[in-house]
Symmetry: C2
């Protein structure tokens, strides 16, 4: 399929833009959305950009009952030169297809999906906010729409992309967050769906998240489901530590999400010549490093917050205050570099940025 | 709330009834559905019975992205006296609330929900099929409707009940099914959502199910997520074995669903004075019992199939044929007794049946 096979129906009633200096996260949506249908035997068809509108689904649609759905999260940024940049969007489409495999959803054409996404961004270009720290959050997702109450993969799907101009994900912004190590609930286990970006993982996380928030923690740090001992990831971020000069992060073990920010951090740290290792890390090792005064930094990585320094880790009734509760040097440098690349203010050595071209706007309208 | 607070809007165009002698499972829906809304600060409100119709939801509704949803499955049966009976519906409402707790969904008023359900069945009474082996499958479910892309419990929900006249869940009917022991994928783990009836558990199960079906097995038998050793349950059934005269079933350990059919089987077997035990059972124990010639019966229990004898268990490249691939004595007696109680043809010693009264029909219309 080529880009001109995407039908575009523009809205006749553009919404009023919100105050870009005061954006909430994920509550305001742009004027348009992308939709494409899948029908067994026919494949993906009817790609279209339409006014943002409600979905109309049979109450028996499989997504409501058996959670057959996957999603992605990515961002578009406005540069000083008024260009719109996407950060490694090809990686999101790849991961979407990996999630599809796990959840038995048919593969999408990654290249076509990216073209569609770029067209959608071009159509809603004036929704990419121009204020420091803001961006346009993009949410591609696929839902199973067949009305059937048997547990089986759906015969029909919709692939949808919606977009939301966003401010900071955490109220804290780049200020360090407090995170509680979860000791009761489990998010994912080897053989499960932890490395797929699928709804059920997040439903499973809500209860622990609520308990943590009540105690003043913004997220939980998940331990593995088998031994409740090894560090996995944070609610919607991967986790890194700097211990005695070395950057460490949990290895990809099948139950944590392969974060694109995580991968970018690993590339950059290696590029800088700093020691970095992906390995299994127990919470006890972190505690010992802390006691020995060797736990120098901790930070989460994810599209929403990019780099989120961890100022305090709560574990076993103890508060581990990291780097005096302040952002560490490597965390800060990573934040500056990645957000700089994303906004086109620092060089992009790995060719991560993808520009939304003007001709796409022309094509689309 | 009392039953007359449920607004009833009857359809002006009744659907044609399907051939009750040839019903598929979960593909045909009745004329009406029940809907009730939840709004933060206001609670549950606007209970109504309306014509069966599509749901209209914002594409950012939390259910699509974070799977915040729970459901139930139960059945209504028509007796020879033309009465409509529900089987232990109070237990389904209790379990719905337990699932709600795990998934951070507000509690429902169980008694009111049951009243609503009875009214709905009364309104669509002529959809309760009158053919041997058929019933009206009832699917209450709750979905998170708030449009918000942050991972947090929704502020708004819908509680919906839809109904489907059904035939056999398995093509096999009461004939023994073949089940494969799953050795790669995991459905649930302690601390996760395995004991809640929530969408993500089923999404997680699809891949294993597809592999099993390709090899000619109708379901998989899940092992525990921690050690991949202990028997948990089947796709949508709990599992029982009869070993050397004793009935055994996995204990409720937090990662398997507390099946209502399971509970009914335990009650009946005890009532009959047969030895029964709920305990942790490893797949190795089952294999040993099989080798020793002591594995006398195996059967799954669940609302959809009631009792489903297991004729063959596939494990470690070996086919364990149970009771010569035929239904066992206890399995058959349980099937006859439970389906007999459900249809009012054998005594109901535990008071499990709940009659849908005629006055409810009057109230409703
Ligand atoms: C569970 C989980 N882990 C990690 C991440 C970070 O991934 P990425 O860097 O690709 O945004 C996310 C979210 O995006 C997530 O949902
Ligand atoms: C995972 C799972 N286990 C067991 C059961 C059996 O429970 P019940 O007997 O209440 O139908 C079901 C379905 O109903 C189920 O979905």
């Amino acid at each position: 399929m080529s880009s001109n096979q995407i039908k575009v129906e523009l809205t006749s009633a553009k919404k009023q833009k919100p105050d870009f200096a005061n954006l909430p996260f994920g509550k305001i949506f742009t004027d348009h959305m992308f939709v494409m249908d899948y029908t067994e035997g026919k494949g993906w068809h009817d790609a279209r950009i339409v006014p943002y509108q409600p979905l109309t689904l049979d109450p028996a649609a499989i997504v409501f009952h058996y959670g057959q759905t996957v999603f992605e999260g990515m961002k578009a940024y406005l540069t000083k030169e008024n260009e719109v940049l996407l950060f490694r969007p090809d990686q999101n489409m790849k991961r979407l297809n990996r999630s599809n495999t796990r959840i038995c959803i048919p593969q999408i054409d990654e290249e076509f999906a990216l073209t569609a996404l770029k067209q959608l961004v071009a159509v809603d270009r004036d929704w990419v906010p121009n204020v420091e720290g803001t961006s346009l959050y993009i949410r591609p997702f696929i839902i199973a729409t067949e009305p059937y109450l048997g547990v089986a993969a759906s015969k029909n799907y919709q692939f949808i992309i919606i977009m939301s101009p966003v401010g900071n994900y955490y109220a804290e912004g780049i200020n360090p967050v407090k995170i509680a190590v979860e000791q009761q609930y489990v998010r994912a286990v080897k053989g499960g769906t932890g490395n797929a970006k699928t709804a059920g993982n997040y439903a499973a996380s809500l209860a622990a998240q609520e308990v943590a928030e009540k105690s003043g923690y913004s997220q939980v740090l998940w331990l593995d489901g088998k031994e409740n001992k090894y560090i996995e990831e944070v609610g919607s971020m991967n986790i890194f530590f700097k211990i005695n000069g070395e950057v460490v992060t949990p290895e990809l073990n099948g139950s944590i999400l392969e974060g694109i920010t995580r991968d970018s951090v690993i590339h950059l740290v290696k590029h800088w010549g700093l020691p970095i290792v992906e390995k299994r890390i127990s919470i006890n090792e972190i505690y010992k490093a802390y006691q020995d005064g060797l736990l120098e930094e901790a930070f989460g990585t994810g599209t929403a917050a990019v780099i989120s320094p961890v100022g305090e880790l709560y574990w076993n009734d103890e508060k581990l205050v990291i780097n005096g509760g302040k952002i560490g040097e490597v965390s800060q440098k990573l934040y500056n570099t990645i957000t700089g690349i994303q906004r086109g203010t620092v060089p992009d050595p790995f060719g991560w940025n993808v520009k939304v071209e003007d001709e796409e706007i022309i094509l689309a309208i």
